[in-house]
């Protein structure tokens, strides 16, 4: 099964870090990607630009982002391969974001074979 980790992060907390601390944060994610790769569990992933710079499109028209008025916003995602939800949760526990934000684990359904 494939799973997506939605990384809910506090942009203000990230902006408050100095350069060395941010580099440390990036290195922690790169190490996580390395561990996923070693287990052949990494599919893809991407960090997103600040939620405040995003745009929203709906039937109401176009608005400035973010979508949800929450302290933490989706700052990026990972797509991983795992046998089941429990295994995906074990990976999510190792994700750096689980230490300072929230990792939402979501299943990618296989509609074609479901």
């Amino acid at each position: 099964m494939q799973y997506v980790f939605l990384l809910h992060e506090d942009q203000a907390a990230w902006d408050a870090l100095n350069e060395a601390e941010q580099a440390e944060g990036v290195a922690a994610h790169m190490a996580f990607v390395g561990a996923l790769n070693e287990a052949n569990a990494f599919n893809s992933g991407a960090p997103l630009g600040p939620a405040g710079q995003g745009k929203l499109v709906s039937a109401d028209g176009i608005h400035d982002g973010p979508f949800a008025d929450t302290k933490e916003q989706i700052g990026g995602f990972y797509m991983i391969e795992a046998a089941n939800l429990d295994e995906a949760i074990d990976w999510a526990k190792k994700c750096p974001t689980a230490q300072y934000g929230r990792v939402e684990v979501r299943e990618i359904p296989d509609y074609a074979n479901g």
Binding site: A46, G54, V57, S58, A59, I74, F77, E104, R106, E107
Partner: protein, 116 residues
Amino acid sequence: MQFAILFYESADDFSARLDPARTDYWQGWASYSRSIGQSGKLVSGAALNGPEVGATLKSGTVQDGPYAETREQLGGFFIVEANDMEEAMRIAARSPTAGTGAVEIRPVLPTTTSED
């Protein structure tokens, strides 16, 4: 540059997926995906199952369900190649979710994956 298009779908959208009578749902997505695919702008994407089958982790603690209790929930995303935010917004505005829920467009940050 790349943009993430996040599709926040309504409960009705989620239930339409498995409803044989709602062929309109999949037809809408099929024609939208095909048109972006043919334009060469689609990088990747995925549909997500509803948050009720997922989990959220914070400080090592597992909670059921989604992080945010919003009316619409993230139902999937596309990563697209576009010249600028304007073009990404035009692509997003054509999606089925633009009429039924909300679509968020966010730039993807560049990452260094090469060894140089």
